[in-house]
Amino acid sequence: MNEERIGVYVCHCGSNIAGTVAVEEVAQWAAKLPNVVVSRDYKFMCSSLGQELVEKDIKELGLTRVVVAACSPHMHERTFRATCERAGLNPFLFEMANIRELDSWATDDRAAATQKAKAMVSAAVRRVVYHQPLQLLPVKINPNTLIVGGGVAGITAALEIANAGYHVYLVEREPSIGGHMAQLDKTFPTLDCSACILTPKMVDVAQNKNITLLSWSQVEAVEGYVGNFTVTVRKKARYVNEEKCTGCGICIEKCPKKVIDEVFEAGLGYRKAIYRPFPQAVPKYPVIDTSNCIFFQRGKCKACQMFCPTDAIDFEQQDQILKLEVGNIILAIGYDTFDPRRIPQYGYGRLANVFTSLEFERMVNAAGPTGGRIVLRDGVTTPKSVAIIHCVGSRDKNYNEHCSRICCMYSLKFSHLLHERLPDAQVYEFYIDIRATAKRYEEFYHRVLEEGTRFIRGRVAEVTDAARMPGEEGKLIVQYEDTLIGKQRRLPVDMVILSLGMEARRDSREVAQIFGLGCEYNGFFIERHPKLDPVNTMTEGIQIAGACQGPMAIPEAVAQGAAAAARVLSLISQGTVMMEPVRAHIDADKCSGCRICNNLCPYNAIVFHEDRKVSEVITALCQGCGACVAACPSAAITGAHFTDEQVMAQIEGMLWDVQPQFAMTSMETR
């Protein structure tokens, strides 16, 4: 062990590290550490010149171990491993000390930062001595892909992968794909008809031979790892035989039971107990809603079955449990809108003519419940004045701190549509800031300004029907502060629209648990890197796309869907991926056969050999968490690259400057 020849390299990272840590001092100090034969500091270690320095030293000085003190291993560990490899040194004989993110950037106390950097370098030097040469493990990639969520992001990803010639399972929990985009009337700022641009893509999904569409289905469990996931999907009973159904819709026509459509029509319209959310639904097969179906509730009716020309109604149908083998997973589960009942002073649910933005989308849609007529809740009266309240549930410490990014623009779109349909109506927008930041957005804002919308800067305090002044009777009164003139005002209007913010799906944390992902405090999924890796997650082989990652508009969701697909395709085309060799191994000679480790393994990667009474780790299944290593009472399990020796040595190194309580070395205590 004592013959190792270590090279230590301390990076300045311009002034990022050198500004706080005395890098020259650390480098000079490290030169005196045991086994260190060379210690240098350099402006940018990750530059090709910095890397050449390491390569040259490995070759000329015969280094057997390398320590680089620079940024996070998540930034440049791979870079320097490759450097070592180029010079003929096994890449795992390298250790990185993160003296930037965890040190120089986290304090401005130069003395303390330098001391901490020394501790981290000394820990790395002591640890690296115990490193062993390791080889990356090749893992085969199953070319099938699972996509969860059939909104515009999921649809885009599915088509990209399917068109490249690989199979996709697209799982959607509603009866039809389409997501929120299918509910919208127009899209800002181009005023494209939302359905007109989305439905052709939905049809492509239905017709693509490489896509298995599983609507009215949910993922229940996921096992495995990148390249080899086994996914359990529950395909809920539709009570309609998909083989026989032609999608003619006679059953829907004949169904006597009408219920409020809370999902697609946002509670503004009705559907039948057997239904398709909308005429262009994909797949075209209807679904029976058993909680409202007269037959399922009272045992009589069967009108749909009676009239079905192809005998496709099957009241006996059961849920199916499918097991899918896939190599990659894309999550595109979308968002939920903020629940406006959480802000009671805005009166939603209490004051009839307060509408949500989604209700308004359905109302202005020619295919919606009112046939595109903008009317009050009574269904006949046309409003003469409309107030649109921005940032409902967004940019508010009481609800969500984040900006939902789309509400300004869709509110402007509402203004435009109101002017178009009701030229005499007065439209007011209550805003905090107008955020029109993408291509052609600002131009659209100016267009709406010129159309005559009144913009009032200020957050609305209350919407009420309690009239105090003449002219307020029978109206909704918006109580607000105009922050540009600094005055409290009241404005009577006929209709109020609440521009709801975007939130993570209410069950996003449950989904995250199924897939083993992390969530932000507000429930959105965490990407691998906010700038450089926005669609990857910490779990290899699982990508995220669209509004489940954070609030975004359609173009970004589409771009993310395509980006996630590109990531998946690159893995599929490689055929195999190289995995970190951080794996557990059981020394059969030391194993007492106690089987404590067997149940600890979350991947069932440990098998017990009854004949020899020893446990064994199946390397291909092991993911390297180390739970078994820590638990083994006989210390028979080694966790590669995180062995006891390595961590113990690292602890000693970290504490180089504090008085050791015993004059013992780590080897003696073990």
Partner: protein
Amino acid sequence: MNDSYEPVIVGFLCNWCSYRAADLAGTSRLHYAPNMRPIRVMCSARVEPQFVLKALREGADGVLIAGCHPGECHYVDGNIKALRRYELLKRMLRQLGIEEERVQLVWAAASEGNVLADAVNRMTEQLRRLGPLRWRETVLGGDAQPEERAGEMMAKEV
């Protein structure tokens, strides 16, 4: 307590959540106490009680173990295993006369740089008030000879 006393904390940070939280804290230039010296482990479940005792015996005044939030563990439920082990370890530390604040377990997601920074600050402040651990006096009662072996044995048995 002497004004210049600064506690030293060894932090075991899991690779997927809390180490990234620490990275994020740095990237966001959240300044926090430089007293925590980080050791990366793949999962908080890898942290053996021996690691904690080793750090305390080597002169650390406290040990911070940080993992993913329950339900968000990269390895399904490694953090829960860490929690179970931590509860047992706490019982033993109490018997050794080591204050509860010296060994802490926190959850920090990859997006929660502030949570990790706050935990370090809070713990540093608590340890400043407690003062140095003084393993020899606290755990071995000053007479190092017989009990030294006892401490060692206990470390082995955890």
